[in-house]
């Protein structure tokens, strides 16, 4: 008799805090997801001030810090090994975290998935479109921005800001998300300048500053007058190209301060849209959604304000391209061939079509090879 009374009283107590709705709605899912004393744990794979991926997250996480009653704990430079699993567990056990945001790709399998099974009362959200609603735990989830849309806009602006029609791209690894950015950059440039080509150099890893500088120099030597990149920290590429007098397009976060002369625009995530959404859900006592992904149409990506390198025509065309993307105008208009002559995209695909997530080719017009 007494036991249920206690729990009912506890529930009553919760409801006086205005959270009963949440507790009831969640029922079997897990513990009440309450803004009151919710601790959010955030793990980053690199430094929070890397001018790139991690900085983009860290800047946006401030949206969560602003929610009353929410405490944010952050840990940087956590490698994609057992270390991340232990860091997240430490946040749960020692800080009492109820929501974990894992911001690096390699955190998901096996670490986030295993921990979500181990701690069913804690919510996990991971920054890559990997959550599978049939296989993965219900307290895990994904959020992601389609940055290739912003690279497409970069391409449009670059295509009208180049004189040599040769654009350079320093890329880390030939994996789908990188290839999609390269191909979108090319298609953006070609949409306004059919003579444009993109030359790509793969450095082989996410953070190899020396090789990134070599690659940027090599591209300028090969005649590229616009250089962009997809590496963890774009600082080296942007600064090297700027020194060589080439124009630049950024990646991940704003690199405009690094290139006062040649900066055109850059592809940026707009994680704050997602984090603010999470914050609103939490404040309302709701669970954040299991899966959200999108590009311009969802306001999840943006372009850096134009720099001195962007021509007026380029700016105008880029702004028009952004309007198009917001209206879901497709980037990949088929049929398209890869740079070996094989038709790889048979028809026109929607910008968010999962078919495009499996990309393993470079389109015709890109100079370079994935192997």
């Amino acid at each position: 008799m007494s036991a249920p009374e206690i729990s009912r009283r506890a529930l009553l107590k919760t409801s006086t805090l205005g959270l009963a709705g949440a507790a009831l709605a969640l029922g079997g899912v897990g513990r009440a997801f309450a803004a009151k004393d919710l601790t959010v744990g955030v793990v980053y794979v690199g430094a929070r001030d890397d001018f790139g991926w991690n900085q983009a997250h860290a800047v946006a996480i401030k949206a969560l810090k602003a929610v009353p009653g929410v405490k944010v704990v952050e840990e940087e430079n956590v490698p994609e090994t057992d270390a991340v699993s232990k860091s997240m567990e430490s946040m749960i056990n020692l800080d009492g975290a109820g929501l974990i945001l894992a911001t690096s790709f390699g955190y998901y399998t096996p670490f986030v998935v295993d921990l979500a099974k181990k701690y069913p009362d804690v919510e996990f959200r991971h920054a890559a479109p990997l959550w599978n609603k049939d296989k993965d735990p219900k307290n895990a989830g994904s959020y992601f921005g389609y940055l290739n849309q912003a690279h497409y806009v970069d391409g449009v602006a670059a295509g009208l800001s180049t004189k040599s029609n040769k654009l350079g791209f320093v890329a880390a690894k030939p994996i789908a998300s990188v290839l999609s950015n390269i191909n979108s950059f090319l298609l953006g440039a070609r949409s306004v300048n059919p003579n444009a080509t993109v030359q790509v150099i793969f450095t082989g890893d996410w953070s190899l500053p020396v090789r990134e500088a070599e690659a940027a120099n090599a591209l300028v030597d090969a005649g590229c007058d616009v250089v962009t990149c997809h590496v963890d920290g774009p600082k080296v590429v942007i600064e090297t190209a700027e020194k060589r007098g080439a124009k630049t397009c950024g990646h991940n976060a704003s690199q405009a301060p690094l290139a006062p002369k040649g900066f055109i625009t850059g592809a940026e995530y707009k994680w704050e849209t997602i984090y603010k959404g999470y914050a609103a859900d939490i404040a309302a006592g709701k669970l954040p959604p299991n899966f959200i992904a999108g590009g311009y149409e969802a306001d999840f990506v943006r372009n850096t304000p134009f720099g001195a390198g962007a021509t007026p025509e380029g700016q105008k065309a880029a702004l028009a391209a952004i309007e198009g993307l917001k209206a879901r105008k497709p980037i990949y208009v088929g049929p398209l061939k890869d740079n070996k002559g094989k038709v790889v995209i048979d028809k026109t695909y929607d910008n968010l079509d999962p078919f495009l997530d499996k990309m393993d080719y470079l389109l015709e017009g890109v100079v370079g090879s994935t192997t």
């Binding site: 744990g41 940087e76 490698p79 056990n93 800080d95 096996p110 890893d205 997530d357």
Partner: protein, 379 residues
């Protein structure tokens, strides 16, 4: 040579007889060996004091720091298991440095042997999954990882002996080659195409994973590391092989003149070292990652160098030192989160400990207190 231990014990004739003698002998020995505890403890204390100054300089409280190191690394059941788990690969990679050091080689190729060993284990497992029973598969994976790791570091040892190539440089360079070989296969022939964004081999699957030590959250790699430390300590200190290896480490030319099989000793010690690191790679794949990918090269091999030097290349001292390191790293996260300090803070502490400990090496033998009374009387 088979009576090696007898040589090291003090000449019994000079000592008083009876129970009194055994007691004072025991006290003397304790007094002498306490030097090896007192000096490192003193060094860690000095490093902590320096670090406290650093913290005060950036306006943070050293007392908070110590409290968080305790809470994050040792103070709760979760924290301590976190520490043990983090120390597991370090124990094995430290052995990979300590064993060659006893034969006079500075071998720093543990990272390469770890990566290749882990990769080899994963590659071997791919055709066996679903065909062979998990136990057999795991045993074969472990053996194969040790063979491949042993071969990789053994190669450096062989080059040292046969061609006079500096083993420090060759083992370091072989590390880069090892990582490149793994990347080549993981991004090419052995890549799991269902995972388009992180090049990896096919996953092992839950049935083919090494479990945790019962009742804990720590995987078996920790137990294997401690077991190997004891085994290799006995090998080095209590066998003719170990004695011959230490003689070679002490004086290479003398060992040659004695007719010791120097080449064989060097290659064997290097191969044992590589096998330890290879085993660490096996556990990274089979207990943690479940597949081989670039995350194997997480720097455990390099941290192992630090641990081995701090343990003065004594296998029995490696586990406590590795646990201390594991604890500092484990608490690093809590310190970042609670004190709002950058991740590099923990590196500053590690660097200070390392430098002060190395400097403290010059203190050995300088304090009369630690010297046996008999010898003090004689000199």
């Amino acid at each position: 040579m088979s009576d090696a231990p007898a040589v090291t014990s003090p000449a019994p004739v000079l000592q008083p007889a009876g129970a009194e003698a055994t007691r004072s002998d025991w006290v003397e020995r304790l007094r002498a060996s306490s030097e090896y505890v007192a000096i490192p403890v003193f060094a860690v204390a000095v490093a902590s004091a320096l670090f406290a100054l650093f913290l005060l300089a950036v306006g943070k409280s050293p007392a908070d720091f110590i409290a968080y190191v305790w809470r994050g690394g040792f103070g709760t059941a979760f924290s301590f298991q976190n520490t043990l788990q983090r120390s597991a690969p370090l124990i094995l990679t430290a052995l990979a440095v300590a064993i060659p050091a006893r034969i006079g080689l500075i071998m720093i190729g543990g990272e390469g042997a770890l990566v290749l060993g882990g990769f080899a284990a994963a590659a071997l497992a791919i055709p066996m999954i679903g065909v062979a029973p998990p136990m057999l598969t795991l045993i074969l994976m472990a053996i194969f990882a040790m063979l491949v790791g042993g071969f990789w570091v053994g190669l450096s040892g062989f080059l040292r002996y046969a061609r006079g190539v500096n083993e420090t440089i060759s083992s370091l360079l072989l590390t880069y080659i090892g990582i490149a070989i793994m990347n080549f296969f993981v991004e090419g022939a052995l890549r799991d195409l269902s995972n388009p964004n992180k090049p990896s081999t096919k996953p092992l699957g839950d049935a083919y994973m090494v479990g945790k030590i019962p009742g804990t959250d720590v995987h078996w790699g920790f137990a294997a590391g401690v077991f190997l430390c004891v085994l290799l300590y006995l090998l080095l200190e209590r066998t003719t092989f170990g004695f011959a290896a230490r003689v070679t480490g002490g004086n290479y030319r003398a060992a040659l003149a004695q007719g010791l099989p120097v080449g064989k000793l060097i290659v064997t010690c290097s191969a044992i070292a590589g096998a330890c690191a290879g085993l660490a790679g096996f556990f990274e794949v089979a207990a943690i990652q479940g597949r081989a990918n670039a995350s194997l090269a997480a720097g455990y091999g390099f941290t192992g160098i630090l641990v081995a030097f701090l343990a003065r290349h004594n296998p029995l001292v490696i586990p406590p030192v590795a646990i201390l390191f594991g604890g500092i790293v484990a608490s690093g996260g809590l310190i970042q989160r609670r004190m709002d300090l950058p991740d590099a803070t923990v590196l500053v502490l590690q660097g200070l400990i390392f430098v002060v400990l190395l400097t403290s090496e010059t203190l050995y033998g300088r304090f009369a207190f630690f010297r046996p009374r008999a010898r003090r009387d004689r000199t």
